[in-house]
């Protein structure tokens, strides 16, 4: 079930009606649970529901055992076993694939069997959420949940199954248990965000995708400037796609009065790569920081490693190298989580890790340079320069996400600088990639809207709150215009190939 499809919105509407029809609000969460399981079954088949139920059972039971046991070693063993089982499921279903597993066991005709075991939708997201829950209980950060079904809902709450966010039980678990009275403003608020998400996805991301796909299919046919333009367009596509999807998910959740943790915070306003990762896919960054980087740095192995380095290089250098080593490990894990292929390892792991570490390492040098060159670091142009520099660094890594592989990504980057006789001027080449002048006008409007709204948000002005304060008649017109803008300018229907959300595959 695509979350931009009519089916999803019918499903959501039905769930909202049922949710608010329940007289005893303490049972509302059961409506969400039932809907989530139905959504799961309708999206990837009824068999895959079993995986969600199974990993939720592991998380629920292991957390209860950990809480009841007094022996620390036993607690650690249970936690390790539970996490291993969840990770094993993720590796088999998502990364190796059930088909390859069966073939390795000597089965040849696997087609019928495999059809029942598609990777469940959102497996990467709910697996990480459950691992986080198991670890938090093990560390004693909060108490284990006694009700198994609440853990199932925490992991499988249907809006977040498509592209996250990666949630924490102390935040979202409590949100999902709230009793909510009907309030039209809440529905409207959620609805506005859904429309905004659809605009980003269908009008901006999918329109950019036409151009990007055309150039990436044959970069050798385009001039360097057009290839460079397509790399920037892909950054736009990726952001509009992922954040658009998040807006739909957040909007749908808000209709039930559930606030999910923020996942994007105007990432293109970042002035360093480090800042960017605090603003982009925030819940993923937070998860890997809290559940892999910090535990790794605190581990006895890291301490021994650091001590060994201290003896040779001194305390300061040893601390830095230890941190960077484990940061690199975490970035590789992030790359693996994104898909396991070499290109994801480079695009989402190694390159961002490299930029982050080198940025931190060279920060002192840059500071000195600005003083030597007498640059006014509080000027608008300096801030703009830093934002553009960060953006271009990220664009260079995202090339590998869009390209078929690492080698193809390098070819695309190489095409920017290669001298060739491309047919036609820049404008002619740009307009021969499947988009018209009007499409670029729409894209320009889309980009202005994106940056305009982000700009106001940075200054504490929320567009939705501003709209809600307007006269109902004006709101009415704004909503209608927004809906029809998506209906008319959106890329969908016969003639266009529907584009899946990029982050849905992770």
């Amino acid at each position: 079930m695509k979350i931009t499809g009519v089916e999803f919105f019918l499903f959501l509407s039905l769930t909202i009606i049922l949710f608010y029809s329940i007289q005893k609000t303490r049972y509302q969460w059961l409506v969400l649970l039932t809907s989530s399981l139905c959504f799961f079954a309708l999206s990837t088949g009824i068999i895959t529901v079993l995986h969600l139920l199974f990993v939720s059972l592991i998380a629920w039971k292991s957390a209860l055992w950990v809480e009841n046991f007094k022996d620390d070693k036993a607690k650690a063993r249970i936690t390790f076993a539970a996490i291993s089982l969840v990770v094993l499921g993720l590796i088999i279903l998502k990364y190796i694939g059930i088909k390859r597993c069966l073939i390795s066991f000597g089965m040849t005709d696997t087609s019928d069997f495999v059809n029942y075991f598609l990777a469940p939708i959102g497996i990467s997201y709910y697996s990480l959420s459950l691992i986080g829950y198991i670890l938090e209980v093990f560390w004693g950060n909060y108490k284990a949940e006694k009700n198994y079904l609440r853990i199932v809902l925490f992991a499988g709450f249907f809006p977040q199954l498509t592209s996250g966010p990666i949630v924490r039980f102390e935040e979202t678990g409590k949100e999902l248990g709230k009793q909510i009275d009907f309030d039209h403003k809440r529905i409207l608020f959620g609805f506005y965000r859904i429309i905004w998400g659809l605009f980003k996805k269908m009008v901006i991301a999918d329109r950019s995708a036409i151009f990007v796909t055309s150039v990436y299919t044959s970069p050798d046919q385009c001039s360097g400037a057009v290839v460079a333009f397509s790399i920037i367009m892909f950054a736009l596509q990726l952001y509009a796609d992922f954040s658009g999807c998040m807006d739909i998910i957040f909007g749908a959740s808000e209709c039930f009065g559930i606030a999910l943790p923020i996942n994007f915070n105007s990432p293109f306003f970042s002035e360093t790569v480090s800042e960017f990762w605090d603003r982009w896919h925030i819940t993923m960054g937070r998860w890997f920081r809290d559940f892999t980087l910090y535990p790794l740095l605190k581990s006895s192995f890291a301490q021994k490693y650091k001590k060994a380095l201290t003896d040779k290089l001194g305390k300061k250098a040893a601390k830095k190298i230890t941190t960077y080593t484990f940061m690199l490990v975490v970035w590789i894990l992030i790359g693996i989580w994104h898909g396991g292929e070499a290109k994801y390892l480079v695009a989402s792991g190694l390159l961002p890790g490299f930029y982050l570490i080198s940025g931190q390492q060279l920060s002192g040098f840059f500071e000195k340079m600005t003083k030597v060159l007498r640059i006014n670091t509080s000027s608008f142009l300096w801030h703009l320069f830093r934002k553009i520099r960060t953006f271009l660094c990220l664009c260079s890594s995202w090339v590998f996400i869009r390209a078929a592989g690492v080698k193809e990504g390098l070819v695309v980057l190489g095409e920017i600088f290669r001298t060739k006789n491309s047919p036609g001027s820049f404008n002619e080449q740009v307009l021969s990639q499947g988009l018209t002048v009007w499409d670029f006008v729409v894209l320009a409007f889309g980009v202005l809207s994106l940056f305009g709204i982000a700009h106001f948000r940075e200054r504490g002005i929320d567009a939705r709150n501003s709209i809600m304060k307007l006269n109902p008649a004006v709101q009415f017109i704004i909503v209608l215009c927004a809906i029809f803008l998506v209906i008319i300018a959106g890329i969908y229907g016969p003639g266009y190939s529907a584009t899946e959300f990029i982050y849905k595959q992770f």
Binding site: T436, W438, L480, I488, Y492, P494
Partner: protein
């Protein structure tokens, strides 16, 4: 107090839905492409209420054969070709229903060429065969039923069901190319150029040899689905006491199986008390010349259309009670429009003559 507030929002939501649906429909009409098919289908809505004596339904074998203005000139009957190219027979019944919303025709003439086409190649009728008609119809329950029935019967490949019902899904990207005409078609009733008759440019002449299978008397049963389509039409006509003449117009037949199929069709139609006229049994009476009167194997040129209209018009005038309206002032606009038609038809004839002289 709280309940009142809730009801207020329910009312507002209801108003929102009404406005949204109205705008959606209006936009659908604007975005639909302006084609000769739209001109034909929407042209029916532009005809004065209860002004048509005869409505001819079928595919291109209707719109290139029956000349409404010639029938007017000769017998004073008002008629209309409600047809699009490659129209699936599954839409016949629904076009009758659509006609009856604004007209009370004395007679429906249903062309059954599609029956033979469907029997020859079941996959001939595609999504486009449905779209050419339904994408020009007004949103209504009848349109919905027509689509549902056609999808069920034809099972066209690669069909996007929802976009057939809500055609804005298909045509929304037309915003980049719409012209003033799109708005005219969306918000006013544009008359059909020649009452549904199509004059195709560059389609002038082909020389064929006549294959006459009129003596074939064997019966070739139809496939279950094709027969069901025909039965559904016949039952609808009988239930609603409609006067209907089923016809097949002249075309180049490659074998006797076509005639055998129509013999079977004839039997089926007579079981329901209706008449079936296979014009392929009357080449001599029509004086049709296969070396001159066709532009391809399946279609006559305007010379052939003249002969067919004369033949069928006489049959209708002789067998159905249709009054002559040529002196009726209410219908004087037909005379004015005839002049336009005559000019276009004469021009087409001169083009055909030129094409023949060059061969």
């Amino acid at each position: 107090m709280r309940n009142n507030k809730r009801y207020r929002w329910i009312y507002l939501f209801f108003i929102f839905v009404v406005v949204f649906v109205s705008l959606y429909i209006a936009l659908s009409y604007v975005m639909r492409p302006v084609t000769m098919y739209r001109n034909t289908i929407q042209g029916l809505y532009a005809e004065k209420s209860d002004s048509l004596d005869v409505v001819c339904i079928g595919g291109s074998s209707t719109s290139t054969f029956w000349e409404p203005y010639e029938a007017w000139k000769r017998w004073g009957m008002t008629s209309y070709d409600l047809s699009t190219d490659s129209m699936t027979p599954s839409l016949i019944k629904y076009l009758m229903i659509e006609t009856l919303k604004t007209q009370k025709p004395r007679l429906f003439v249903v062309d059954l060429r599609a029956i033979d086409v469907r029997e020859e190649d079941k996959s001939y009728y595609t999504e486009a065969s449905i779209r050419l008609v339904t994408d020009s119809m007004r949103y209504s329950l009848n349109r919905h039923n027509a689509i549902r029935y056609s999808i069920g019967i034809e099972e066209p490949t690669h069909v996007n069901d929802l976009s057939l019902y809500l055609d804005l899904i298909k045509y929304h990207s037309n915003w980049q190319t719409i012209t003033r005409d799109n708005f005219f078609y969306a918000f006013s009733n544009i008359k059909s150029y020649y009452k549904g008759f199509n004059i195709y440019k560059e389609q002038y002449h082909t020389s064929l040899e006549m294959n006459d299978f009129s003596s074939v008397d064997r019966r070739e049963p139809l496939s279950e689905e094709t027969e069901q389509i025909l039965i559904d039409v016949l039952e609808y006509c009988r239930e609603n006491n409609l006067e209907v003449l089923f016809v097949v117009n002249p075309f180049w037949q490659k074998s006797d199986i076509t005639k055998a199929r129509y013999n079977y069709v004839s039997d089926l139609i007579s079981q329901y008390g209706y008449t079936f006229l296979n014009a392929n049994d009357y080449y001599k009476e029509m004086d049709i010349d296969f070396s001159h009167d066709f532009y391809n194997h399946d279609h006559v040129n305007i010379y052939g259309a003249d002969k067919y209209t004369l033949f069928l018009g006489e049959y209708i005038a002789d067998n159905y009670d249709i009054s002559d309206k040529r002196d009726d002032k209410m219908y004087s606009y037909w005379n004015e429009e005839y002049a336009e038609w005559k000019k276009a038809a004469d021009l087409q004839k001169s083009e055909i003559d030129l094409a023949i002289s060059k061969e």
